[in-house]
């Protein structure tokens, strides 16, 4: 299971005319491994996307009303990197940093509900414990989370800029085995 976000609301600083950059970078330094930063700002902080992107954070932004924006910066493993993180199958829930590159990534955004869930779970069923798949879903898949939890898988995900949802699922022990 994932950790809760580190919440940082810089709107009061901005309102007071202050510069929140140093506060934000302090927060980033204080994050636990694998923890996401959830930033609330009164505008879309595009310059931050570059800065934190270079540090390995993927931003997912959404407007939350009143002109304010919520951006979740999620630390992700390098996609498509030739050397995936060493994975030790069968060792059970590992350090959050041990998320290998996904075996496949499915785009399920144009499928009728519940097809996105079905496709994603089909992909998960084909995994050995510790392997991951990624999927692009039309929205935050609350029913899928229930099913993943019931089947003993872990996941990380975040909304994308265009309102979709990207999920990375790591197979728990005992999946993919014929039963």
């Amino acid at each position: 299971m994932t950790q809760p976000h580190y919440d940082l609301d810089v709107r009061p600083i901005l309102k007071a005319g202050g510069e929140p950059f140093s506060v934000i970078m302090e927060a980033v330094a204080a994050l636990a491994p694998g923890q996401s930063l959830r930033l609330l700002a009164s505008f879309k902080p595009l310059p931050l996307f570059q800065v934190l992107g270079a540090r390995g954070f993927q931003p997912s932004a959404r407007e939350i009303g009143g002109g304010d924006w919520e951006v979740i910066f999620t630390p992700v493993a390098e996609e498509g990197a030739p050397a995936a993180e060493p994975d030790a199958p069968g060792t059970g829930p590992a350090n959050d940093a041990e998320w290998p590159a996904p075996v496949r990534e499915d785009d399920c955004r144009t499928l009728d509900p519940p097809e996105p869930m079905v496709r994603t779970l089909e992909a998960v069923e084909g995994l050995a414990p510790g392997q991951t798949v990624a999927a692009l879903l039309p929205r935050e898949p609350v029913f899928l989370f229930e099913e993943l939890a019931a089947r003993g898988h872990a996941w990380r995900g975040a909304p994308t800029a265009d309102g979709a949802y990207r999920i990375l699922i790591r197979a728990g022990g005992g999946t993919g085995a014929a039963s």
């Binding site: 407007e63 919520e70 779970l121 039309p138 229930e146 939890a149």
Partner: protein, 454 residues
């Protein structure tokens, strides 16, 4: 990022709600209550509350218990309160209806039934508002559909308090001078808070999430939606908070007229913007063929537009009091019930599919959600339903109770057919027997949803 589980009691709420709908329609066919009886007769009150609380409110509560966790992607707070809330609402309704029978002279009972009914309803609705409200509160900042639901719950509180006041005063249990001051004007405040605030506002919020989901359209954050929310909330605040306050303070007819006209204009504009959003969703949809539940939703929205136009015309020509019954009927049975039936037609199969095939998703072949119903034969029932509602409204406007009863029969027959279809869907009867229950699945129970075991 939390999951949403299947709500255990939602199907039971839906079943009880549908029983109340069929009962209300049967009463209308039988000529019980308006228009055969006067608008303010106890028989009409019986009919109205059976429909508004037994059918529409129970339907909405059942839907919210399942759907609010999905809207805010957080689990329901205090789910143990769901069953007590629903039981209190049902019990309160029973006492309330008995109280109306008492008023009509049909029932002899030396007890303040209306007061008991009102109190039990307040208990039930308060429990529901508490658990839904806490769930929303913990999910702040809320996105737009959830904000609509929040305003809907606030309106329910207002409607509920008015109702309690009526119940206490009418049963003679308590003397409320405030109600005497409001006199005949209190009922429209109560009805507006209930129909426009609680039921309509909440329904609109839910459709802002459900329709993009099933049409594969992009979701919200549009300026028109936000403006619709502001205008609608303003209209409600004017209509059910400011206006009653002015009436109690005896501010005079002129001030009241100004405030209610402002509410009407703001509300009309909100409905127009909602229509703009629906049209935009339809244009941007990725799913080319539109399913029956979406087409039926369009039918219900049309009823809302016609009702809004009717309200404007009646208000302008000063005939609102005379034809209020027709207007309320169209809003309750055309817009709200039409929307309810069209959403049930998708929600019941979808939840049933998740409950039954969820555990084997991705492991074994499963039927599609669409296989749980037979759209081709059900299209006719929805057409019959809406035709019946429009004919009944016209009959009410024309002052023809006999034609009204005939048109109500059409709605009753259509409703019964759709109820049968929903039961068939729940029992997976429309799915070929060979594909119905792959290994590892069990037939869902009719009224209670099984919980996924971890």
């Amino acid at each position: 990022m939390m999951g949403a589980s299947l709500s255990r009691w939602t199907m039971a709420c839906f079943a009880a709600a549908l029983v109340c709908l069929v009962a209300a329609e049967a009463l209308m066919v039988a000529g019980y209550g308006y228009p055969v009886a006067p608008l303010r007769a106890p028989e009409t009150l019986f009919l109205v509350h059976l429909a508004a609380i037994g059918w529409l409110s129970l339907l909405m509560l059942g839907a919210l218990f399942q759907f609010v966790p999905v809207l805010v992607a957080k689990p329901l707070r205090d789910p143990a309160l769901v069953l007590p809330a629903a039981l209190c609402v049902l019990g309160g309704l029973a006492f309330l209806l008995a109280g109306f029978l008492q008023m009509a002279g049909t029932l002899e009972a030396g007890r303040p039934l209306l007061a008991w009914g009102g109190s039990l309803l307040v208990a039930g609705f308060s429990l529901a508002i508490w658990l839904l409200g806490r769930t929303l509160w913990q999910a702040r900042p809320l996105d737009l559909p959830a904000r609509f639901v929040a305003v809907g719950l606030a309106s329910l509180t207002v409607a509920m308090l008015f109702g309690l006041g009526f119940g206490l005063a009418l049963s003679g249990a308590v003397d409320l001078p405030v109600l005497a001051t409001l006199d005949r004007r209190a009922v429209p405040f109560h009805a507006t808070a209930g129909l426009a605030g609680w039921l309509t506002f909440t329904a609109v919020g839910v459709t802002y999430r459900l329709l993009p989901m099933f049409m594969l359209a992009p979701e919200g954050g549009r300026a028109t939606s936000r403006t619709a929310w502001w205008l609608g909330s303003t209209a409600l605040a004017l209509a059910v908070v400011v206006a009653p306050a002015l009436a109690v303070a005896e501010a005079g007819e002129g001030a009241l007229l100004l405030v209610t006209s402002g509410a009407g204009l703001a509300g009309g504009a909100a409905i127009a913007l909602y229509g703009v959003d629906l049209a935009w969703l339809y244009r941007k949809r990725k799913r080319r063929s539109v399913e029956l539940n979406i087409r039926a939703t369009a039918g219900s929205f049309l009823a809302l537009v016609v009702a809004a136009a009717l309200l404007a015309v009646l208000a302008a020509t000063g005939r609102l009091e005379e034809h209020a019954g027709a207007l309320v009927y169209l809003v309750a049975f055309g817009w709200l019930s039409g929307l309810g039936l069209s959403q049930l037609y998708k929600i019941v199969p979808f939840l049933t599919w998740l409950e039954c095939y969820g555990p084997v998703m991705g492991r074994r072949p499963t039927p599609r959600v669409q296989d749980l119903v037979r759209e081709r034969r059900d299209t006719g029932w929805f057409v019959l339903y809406f035709l019946g509602v429009y004919a009944a409204t016209a009959a009410l406007l024309a002052g023809r109770p006999d034609l009204f009863r005939f048109a109500a029969l059409a709605t009753l027959v259509a409703t019964l057919a759709l109820v049968v279809e929903l039961v068939l869907a729940r029992r997976l009867a429309n799915v070929a027997a060979s594909a119905r229950l792959p290994e590892g699945t069990r037939l869902p129970r009719l009224f209670i949803a099984a919980q996924r075991q971890n």
